[in-house]
Each structure stands twice: as structure tokens, then as C-alpha cells.
Symmetry: D3
Subunit: 281 residues, 6 copies
């Protein structure tokens, strides 16, 4: 049982098919005879880390089940331009009808895995993990966070109910770091750690004093992080976030933070360029 | 009645809220008293063209209706760093609970509008229109294509049933450009034009001879386009697609094509950086 | 992949099964032992053009998959009283439980195909096509328009987003035929033609002058059509609509219009009389 | 709380809106300025019994809530050509966007109410009730059976779980009328009567002997019914069904049967001709 | 086709899987290698009447289909501590991921069947039937009433539309028992009996005079029932309800009532203790 | 924004209304005139802790919005027999139609809150918290866990994705406690603690050595717990589970465990007896 077997993902696949097909594939119906059969290959037009190859099989199952699918690479595999990701065979009409939906999933998820892998590579050799955020495209969070894992990244919270992260706005509403952390610790489910966002060393001190188990060092410069990490000294998990890009991620990791979280992994990863080639049989 | 009133969009808003809230906002429940009220502002952290401000109002309505929403800018407005897009007021718990979902929609749609506007600006003064494609994020097509319009772009097909675009794979299955176009013309609904993808001038000639009403000039160089457009000479709508980026779009437009379609508008637009600031009252 | 494979159609099949079964088939449970197996035949009680035979297979798949289905005719086949459309075999309980839902789809879709075929036959030998409208039964449009195609008809728009048809109420709101057509032409997606409803020859002239690509001649008499069609003279597609019934459709077609659209195909087609006969094995 | 408040009906309204709107009303967006306001009237183009006027209000609520709705007649009212059913006012764009969906519901439900009323009128003065069947359009049963009531008819079963009606196929599977009725009586929930379909007087005798509480006299001629009804002599409710049309319904009713059920009420009622007229303000 | 094949039940299974899995089974993913295969047994930890074993097979089908399922007992079977209900085999990850959802259904439905069987046993030898009510857990009514049947009980109404039961609040609103019963009889569908709740012998007299076909003797003591039943003397079905528990149910049955309905069967049945044991292969 | 504002809960309310209403409330339609208005009170028939009073307001909103609702107590309030929980006023038809659905939610959630409160009271004065489990009724987890909080309990995991709890079956598949804990620690998201189920003191030692942050002491006797807790000595959170009932919960708490989790809170809590009384106005 994988992420693509989740009923919620199945609903998304159906939504995507409905969204693209509407009342059916008009061009294909008009131009391709139902009896034409073929093979098709989904190929990379650039280097990438692949994520989502199982989507093809699931979409074909939803869309009538006439297509045979053979994955040529697994999720996480690096591919180069021209490599075949998935081979399909079946009625040409069916192959053409599912082409775009399939590619839309694959190109988006592979884009996330590819960008994640670049960040992960950049911190190679440090003890730092690259993590995602809740800054995801609405409706795709489960799949996007799966793609982050495929790219070698770690998942932060999935939702507002499965982690405690006290952010600046909470601190405003709670009346300060200390009050917010204390309240969270008093009521936190026993399996969750209390994390709090700190913008200054003073807030870090307050957070530690109040018993924070993880500290998000928010929008700090490398210099600030170099002070904060030894000050925390392992008493809490440390996470750096805000303004971290490929160009500076290694410097941030070198400060010794445990986690670097990057919203761009999911909200701004460029799609990987893929295409499907139909070959008659 | 706007695009955000569509029942299908309402379903997407609910899916997004469920996805982010799960069983509810734990951090907020633990750290913020239900009696705390506040104001909040959604502000830009960079220059952008805004799209989706009405999403805020709709999400607040779905999420219990306790929040008052005042849009400070309309969709299509240019904003600079620090500008307020939307002002909200109500219980702090409610404001915090809808923050992320709201921003996720706004940052994605504004990203698309902003990128589209850059392409549109780049061809300013030519008669060429910038159009989107079906290369969209699954589940968001209606909103993404709306954002393209907000950015000044034109919409290509919404689905496989509302336009006829004979692509290379169809041509393979149909046995050539001429056969495909003829078949499409014979069966096309009377309100739709028949468009066909051509990679060579020979294919263009075949397409015109077969009665194509629009021709997508696929992955052609500017030089090829300079030959193709006068050859078509207004007998069909001309569309250029494939490999067109901000750096070369004006040169492509200068060839005289009617339409330039760009997949990146929807599949690779970076999110606009926005945040919500809570202010107690 | 056919229309019955669309996820939206699958949802309709499930809705229909739920609607008819509720908590299950009480009479069958009380009167038929689970061990009884049988064959069943869906037979015509009148002459008809069949549409929807694949529905049987899909409904049986949704309802537990114990029934074997053999289509004896394909969609579009003419049947006479007593002809078998579909043969089934399996547990008698299952056969009885899906009987009514199956027949409800088949009798409605075949009714539409049959009525459409009568209109198509009536204009045989002219160059005129019979088309449907958006006057469909809520929730069934995709299937009803499929049945129209099976009966030999053509599909008009599927939705408000996939065609441009300026109707009288639009003209009122836009301030006249010329203004409405001009506005539509300026903003129309490049793959769609602009069609406008005209009630008088003066409106036809305005429409042509403004660049309309199709003209719906609304509720015109045969005499008016005889004037309008040569006046348009091929400069736009011509469509006649309003008050056209089997008795006058040939006269309308003889005026030379390209398309005759008939709302009754979908909103008033009488069901075809079918029944299912159970035979024990 | 009326039938239009049922969540399942609300789902149907949303499905119908999605089905017609897709990504939105393109023609209206292109030709009508957002600032244009208007009034609109839904008028009859023929005599009819109205059913479904509340649908207009519900659809307008789903579609953004900008339209004011005033019902001019109630369900069950007779209208003549030109009568106004519902008056609306609001933005012209919104009025145009909901026009077709609204009319599609109203014309279908009013068609059913109108046909039902004709049957009910035809048996006026007898003690016989006109009832519907489960031969309904998939997805619309609750509304269609509501329209039957509005037309003065009675509802038969809604589903397979809320009534016991042993049909010929059950009798085949159960091994005869007596066995089937006995089995049903033994297990029937205490609030439901056991009804059985009989085709001959011998079957009627068997049914009565086995304790049937209602007998459906299936496809019997008036002469057969004249024998069957006095033979049953009030020991069971009597229902006639099969082949009953407006021309013979009074003769059937005169035989003294309690109920006449007519599938055509729901599966073949022609739509009532209605239209919406927009008037600028 | 069984109750677990109903599309509405399928929706419930998916809802339950989504509810438990969210983004997937984290613990299993972290601790169990995908290559580990195993067998598992669902075993009883107490004596019980089993209901719902087919749920296991359905849930496994929804969740990716990699698990083989063998039911060791059928619904309605009595099991003792240690007995195996269902044996499964497949990937350990999949087995662990569906464990809890599966058990949650089985323990709840078996709890209802077990409690029902205790009531049925308690009235063994009388002619009285034990029936359920509409006091069910929201969303589970079809399955809970199925479990009641498995336990030997009878089903009362499924919904507000499939039976007529005039309760005290209706009597208040209608202006008395006689008025309420008369109104119901006048309009009742011909397949439904009119039942009315009576709290006194005077109300019973009114009900019978007005033609009630079933009488619910509401919250009456055994002594009152002993008077009421002979007074009704078979002129109506008799049902006792209110305050009936295992300790007094036989005394109530001995009064000669036809039906005893017990809300606790569905709203308060304790779960049966079950567990799943994984065995590596 | 409260738990009843979650879109997923809204879906459950609609499902429950559909489930109970079907095609509408037949008895009420037949016996109560639409013009009758009334007040109604939902009253307790026993002592209880109330949970879910806001459900009434939400259900009334879904069901047409004609009813005014006034909560007389808040969730968490103790009520005695005869106390009014909620007062309603509106059309009698509407009040009667929503009665049962409303009560079904309230009686179930209040049952859970009441049982939870009894466990919480029983450990009063100790530092131990009473927690729920994932042994919930399918589809109701969010509401059931809310009711546990209302009763004073704490929430354990909501799903398989928001906590790490290594159970016996995982240990089997992973090859022992140490291997399982180590694997989980290596991959755990930074906000989650790693909890492991231990059945013996040896397993506890293994768990601690491997770095477990919480230990579920599974089915241990009070004597075993008395050994285990000091052995752990605060190095991990301690949770006792298995076979804990009201009679022994205080003794378990006295062993010093941090958490006691009880499946019966959600899977076996008896409903609280409530009713609605209609009063005409």
C-alpha cells in the first residue's frame, strides 16, 4: 500500500481526469479510429529525479483499464534527457486521452523531487536535513510531501493538527514566547514536541526557559544562526527557515542547525519537462 | 457570479481547508484564548500582480463565517512590497486557522498572474496574444486559467472536449496531417475551429490544403516562424509554442504569429511571497 | 476509453444505484435464496435505436461484480420488439437488484437516440445536420449528448464555457447585435467561433457586418429562413432553431441551413420500452 | 423544510450548475459588462401545472447569492402561456449564467406535474389514485416523485428498501406466487404491506390465499380487471399497471382498482416550454 | 450483491480509511521494510456473534489490493475467545495499515449483533420479534441495521420516508391521536401501514377507532401492556418500546406484543474485543 | 471556528441528514400542517456531561434555516434529568424532521464525554491524564475525540500519520524492539516523539536503550506497572493501556504513569438518554 492507494489520492486522480476530459477527448474521437493500437513512451526532456511514476498505472486503471503499463524507472531514480520513464501499450484512443493528466502529475511531482534533491545535495556531508513546509499547492499536499521524501527531504507537519508550531502571530495573540510555550506544553498531546518560532536570541532564551523542544530560527542571517545554535546547545531541535535558497543553504547548514525548511520546494518548483511519444504497433 | 462562486471551486476550497486543518488547529487552540480578537493584514513581500483576493472571503465563509474581510486591491492590481492585499478582523483563533490555506491560494494564483503579465508586457505593441496550455497543476485548472486572464493572457482550451487540437501523436495515429485534419473537419461541432500542430513547412502546407483553421507551429525557431507565418498568410490562425521564454518571446511575437502559448505560465510560475500579520485590537 | 469510463459518469452510476437500492433490495432478500442462479435478458418491447448498452456492464461492476454481461447489440443498432440487447448471468439476487437502474438508463438513452434518428432520417439527403441543445435533464448531459451522437446527431455546446452563443438576452444586455458580436470577437479564444442568435434579417445583416462566424436563426418560419440563408450566402454557419418538429424539419432543412438544433431530443424524448426477463438455470 | 432543502437535492443542484457552467459563462463574460443590472422573468410558453419554482431560489443561492428571487406562483399552480412563474433581479451576468440550469429543472418537473395532472383529471370522480413507479431518470427520483405529488398523484415506492413488491422475476426465482408471498410475509418489516404482481386470476387466487396485502394486476385488459377486482373484493389493495395511457385510464379506473401506476409520468413526460426574458433596469 | 457492495457503504469505507490513514501509515513506513510479507489473523478476545467479516475484504480492495483475505467464519457465527474470524496474507506494511480500520468496523458491528442476539435469546419461545430503531450512530445506519439482522433482530424503519410512525410530537402538532391517524391514513402510500405511538389505553382506543394498523405502546409498564394487548386483540400490530432492557424483555414479550424495539441495540452496544496478530512467513 | 465548522464535519452532518430523511419526512408531511409553528426543547432524561450542542445549530442551518436555536448549556456542562440543553423554535414540520438526527449526534457525543469524565474523576488528584485511542466508530473520529476533550480527557493520535506508535505487530515485522525504535528515530519527523509498546520489563529496557521517547506499557498488571514506572524514571513518557476500566483506573494511575488510554471511551460509551419535546405556540 503506497501513497497512491490512499482513497483521497484516488479522488484527486478522478478530479484531474474529469477536469481534463470533460465529456471526452474530442480530437482523438474525431481523428483516431478505435481499432488503432499502439505503444507509447513517457520520456524525459531534461535531467531530473523522478517522482510519481505509479500515477500512470492508477490513472489508466481509473480510465477504463485497457492500457498496460510498465514502469521503467522507480521513484527517486535520476533520469537524463531521452530516458524512458514509463512504457504503455493499448488502444491509441485511450493512450492519447490520458496523456496530459498523466504528464501533469509526473512533471509537477518530479519537479519537486528534483529541486529537493538539489538542496539535499547542497548540504551533503552536514548533519542537516532539508524539510518542506505547509506552503503547498491546495489539494496536492500529500503527493507534494511524498515527492519531497523521494527527493531525499524530510516532512514537516502535514496539517495544523499533527504538530505544534508556535509562530509569530500566535506569540502576538498569546502575549509572548514564554506564555505561548507554557500553554502549549501544558496541553500538548504526549507524542508531539512543542516548537516555537524565534526571531531574536532573547526569544530563543525565553523559549528554552519555557521548555520548548524545538526552535524555528526565523529569517535569521547566517551570523545570527552562528550565535543561536551554540546557545541552544542541543537543548532543543533547531530549524532554520526563511530566505534560504540554493546559493546559501550550505552556509546555513554549516551553522549546525538540525533542519532547514524551504517553502519553495513545494510552492515554486519548476515542472520537469516530459513528453509522451506514441508509436504504432 | 465569479469564478469563485462555481460549485467546483467551492469543493476545492473545502478540500484545501480539510487538507490543512484536519481535526483542527492544535497550536492555536493551545496558545490562543477564544476571546482574543484581532485584525490581520495580508501583505506582499515583493512586487506582483495580484490574483485571487476573493478566495479569502470565500474561505472565511466556509470556515464558520466569523471573520470580516475587506479587499484592499482587486485582482489584476500591481502591488509592491509592503502593500496590503486584504484586511481581516475577527477572532484571533479563526484568523490563524485560515491563514495558510488563504495564502497558499493567493501566492500561487498571483504567481501565475505575475508571470503572465511579464510575458504580456514583453510582447506589448505587437498584435500577439499570450495564451496558456493544459499543462496545469491537477485540480486547479479553472483557477489557474483565471489567473492567466488576470495577468492579461488568453485562455487556450480548458479540456479535451472544448477545442480541437490535433497534435503530433494524433497525426501518427491518423496517418498524417491531411488525413487528421480532414477527419476533424468532417466531424467537428460547428462552433469549434480545427487546429493542427505542424513541425515543418510541408506539414503547414498539408494542413492548409486540408482546411485547418488554426495552425500550431510546434517548437519552431524564430527563423522557421519567419517563413511559416507569411506562408500561411492569414488563411489560418497561427500559434507558436515550445521553448518560448521571456528572453525570446518578443522575437517570436515579431514574426507575426497570432498566439504564443506558454506552459510555464501554469506549471512553473514561482509563488509570490505574501504573509499575514496579526494585530491585536 | 469510452464515455462510460469517465469518472463523472461513474459517479452518476453510483448515485443511481444508491437512489434505487437504499439499504438494499428488500423484496429480493425476502423471496429469493442467495443460492439461486440465473440468466436474464434485457429485451426490447418496441422498435428502437439502442444507446447505453455498456451501462449494464458498468453497473454490474459497481454492484459487486458477480454478474457476467454479454452485449448482444452495440450502441446505434436498430432493434425490433423482442430483440435481446444484453444477456446476463449470475446470482438471481444480484440480477434482480440491478434490473431497474439498468433499464432506467437504457430506456432513457435509447429514447434519445431513437428520437434523434427519426430527425436525422427526416433530413436524409440534405446537407443539414441535426444537433442537440443545452436543454438537458440535470446531471445527465454527457450521456444524453452521447445518445444524440449515437442517433446520428451532432453535439452543440456542452457547457457555457466551450462555445460562444450570443442569445437574445445577451443582446439586450450588450446593447445590440453589433456591439455583442464585436465584444465577443475581441475576446474569444482562438479556437472558438462566435455565434449569434438573430430574429430578423436586419439582425442577420448586423451580425455579418460585425463578423459573426455562425448565426442561429431563431424561431424563424420556413419563409424567413428561405430569405436568410441565401442572404448569408456561406459567410457564416447557419443554424435554425425553435419550433422545429418532425413534421416540419425536412422543410426547414430544405432551406439550406447547415444545422437544425432541437431541444426536444434531450428534454422530451419518450423512453423506449424495455424489460428484463429472468430465466433460471 | 421542503424537498429542495434535502442535502441530496443540494448536491444535484451543484452537479447541474457545474455541468452547465464548467469554467464559467464565456459568452456572458465577453458580451455583458459586470455593472449591468437587470430584471428577468421566467414565463410559460404553454399551459402547464408548475413544479419546482423553489429551485430558482436555491440555484441562485448556490451561485453566489447576488440575485433576488420572487416566486409569482406556487408549485401546483396552473399557468397559461405568458404567465410569469418567477421574477428575478440582480446583475445581468448572474441572471444569464443561471438561466439554463434553472429552466432545465423547471421545465422537466413541470412536465411531470402537468402529465400527472392530466391523468388525475381523467379519473376525477372515481376513487382511484394515480401513482408513479421506479421508472425514473437516474439521479432525479426524489424531485420527480415530488412533481408527481404536485400534479395530484401518489407515490409508489421510492427505493428497493421501502416497499415489498414481488414481481414476475421474483416469482420465477422463488418458485411461484404462493412461495414468494409466504416468504415475504414471514420476513416483512411490520410497517410494510406485501404486494405481489399477478398476471392471471389463478395467480390472484394464490396471492390472496398466501396472504398478499396488495395485488398489482399486471398488464391486464379492462375485461380482466373487471373480473379481478370483484374477485379480490377488498381483501387486498388493488393496483393496475402496464399499458395504461390517457386514452384508457378512465376505463381502467372504472373497474374499481385502488391505484393505477404509470411509468410514463416520470420517464416520458414532455418538458413544459418555458423561457427567461431579461429586462434592463 | 450484499450490503457491503452498496456504493454508499463503499463511500463509508473510503471515509474511514482516509480518516485513519491521512497521509499514510508513518510508523509502519519507518519500521517495516516493504519486502516483509506475512500472515495475519483477526481473532476474538471474547465470545461474540460476528458481523461484518466481509468488510475486511472490501477494505483490502480499496487499499491497493495486495492482501489475500480468507473469511474463517460467516456473519452470524458465534465465536469464542481465541477463534479466528479472518485470515489475511500479504505485505506486512499493507496488513498493518488496514488493521485498525478493519477492527473498528468489525468490533462495532459484532457488538450490535451480539447484543441483539442476547435480546433475541431472551424472548426465545415467544412470538415476539426484537427490532431496532432510528437511534443509530450517524453515517452507519445501513450497516448497524444489517448487524441487527445478523443478530436475529428485525429492522424497523430505515428513514423518515419509508414508514409512517406518528409519535407524540406529531400528535401534539396534529391535535390528537384521532386527527393524526386519520390524516395519515388519507395520504399514506398504499404499501405502508400507519403506526401510532400511544401512551394510554384511551389513546389506544382512539388509534384503533381511527384505523391505525400498528400501535407503538410507548413506555408502558408490563401491567399496562397486559391490558393493552388484549384490548387491541389483533386489530393492529403491537409494538412495545421504551425502557426495555435485557432484564425485563422476556416479561414484556410475555404480554403478547408482536414487536419489541430497543434503541440500545444500535446506540449503546459495547464493542466486541478483537485483535489482529501478525505472523511472519 | 470550532470543530463543527470543519468542512469534513459538515459533510458528516449532510450524510446523517440524508441517511435519516431520504426523500423527506413522510409522517410529518401527512400529519402536520405546514403552517403550524412551535417551540421545542431538547432535554436530558439522565445526568450527563453534554457534548455537541452546537450540532443542533449546524443541522438546522443545513436543513433549510427556518429554525431558531438557543443553546441553554455549553459543551462540558453537567446536566441532570429534566434539564434543557437546547431550545428551538420554528415550523413544527422542520422541528420534527431534524429531531432524530440531532439527538443521535448529541446522545452519542454526550455519552463519550460522560464516560470520559467518569474516568477523569476517578484519577482526580493524580498527575495522570486519561487519553483516547484510534478505536473509534468509523467516520466519527474528529467528533468523538472532541467529546473526549470535552469530558476532560486528552487526545492520543488522530491518524496513522500524526504520531509514531510502534506496536507489537510492528516489532514482529521489524525484528525486535531495539531495531524498530532505532529505525523510527532515524526517520521520525522532528516534531514527533517515538513511542513503543512494551509488554515486559526487558522490552522496556530495550526501548530506553534505543532512545524511545514514550513507552506504552501494554496490558500490564498494576504490579508490573509499579515496577516499570520507576525503572523508566522519567526518561520517557509512560502510558498504560489494556484492560483498564473504571474499577481499576485509580490503582493504575497511582503507579505514576503519565497517561492512561482507554479504547472504551469511544467504542463502547453508552448513549445519553435525551429527548425532544414539542410545544405549540
Amino acid at each position: 500500500m503506497d501513497v497512491f492507494d490512499l482513497p483521497a489520492v484516488d479522488d484527486l486522480l478522478k478530479t484531474a481526469l474529469n477536469e481534463d476530459l470533460g465529456a471526452g477527448d474530442l480530437t482523438t474521437r474525431l481523428t483516431v479510429a478505435p481499432t488503432v493500437a499502439g505503444r507509447a513512451e513517457i520520456r524525459a526532456k531534461q535531467s531530473a529525479i523522478v517522482a510519481g511514476v505509479l500515477v500512470v498505472r492508477k490513472i489508466c486503471a481509473v480510465a477504463g483499464g485497457e492500457i498496460e503499463v510498465a514502469e521503467r524507472v522507480g521513484d527517486g531514480a535520476p533520469v537524463a534527457k531521452g530516458d524512458v520513464l514509463v512504457a504503455l501499450s493499448g488502444p491509441a484512443q485511450a493512450l492519447l486521452s490520458i496523456e496530459r493528466v498523466t504528464l501533469n502529475f509526473l512533471q509537477h511531482l518530479s519537479g519537486i523531487a528534483t529541486l529537493t534533491a538539489r538542496f539535499v545535495d547542497a548540504v551533503q556531508g552536514t548533519r542537516c536535513r532539508i524539510a518542506d513546509t505547509r506552503k503547498t499547492i491546495p489539494g496536492l499536499r500529500v503527493l507534494e510531501k511524498y515527492a519531497v521524501r523521494i527527493g531525499g527531504g524530510a516532512n514537516h507537519r502535514f496539517r495544523l493538527d499533527d504538530g505544534i508550531l508556535i509562530k509569530n502571530n500566535h506569540i502576538t495573540a498569546a502575549g509572548g514566547v514564554a506564555a505561548a510555550v507554557a500553554a502549549a506544553r501544558a496541553g500538548a498531546p504526549h507524542g508531539l514536541k512543542v516548537e516555537v518560532e524565534c526571531r531574536t536570541l532573547a526569544e530563543v532564551d525565553d523559549a528554552l526557559a519555557a521548555g520548548a523542544e524545538a526552535i524555528l530560527l526565523d529569517n535569521m542571517s547566517v551570523e545570527q544562526l552562528q550565535q543561536a545554535v551554540p546557545r541552544i546547545a542541543g537543548r532543543a531541535v533547531t530549524e532554520a527557515s526563511g530566505g534560504i535558497i540554493l546559493e546559501n543553504v550550505r552556509a546555513v547548514a554549516a551553522t549546525g542547525v538540525d533542519i532547514i525548511s524551504v517553502g519553495a520546494l513545494t510552492h515554486s518548483a519548476p515542472a520537469v519537462d516530459l513528453h509522451m511519444i506514441l508509436l504504432l504497433t
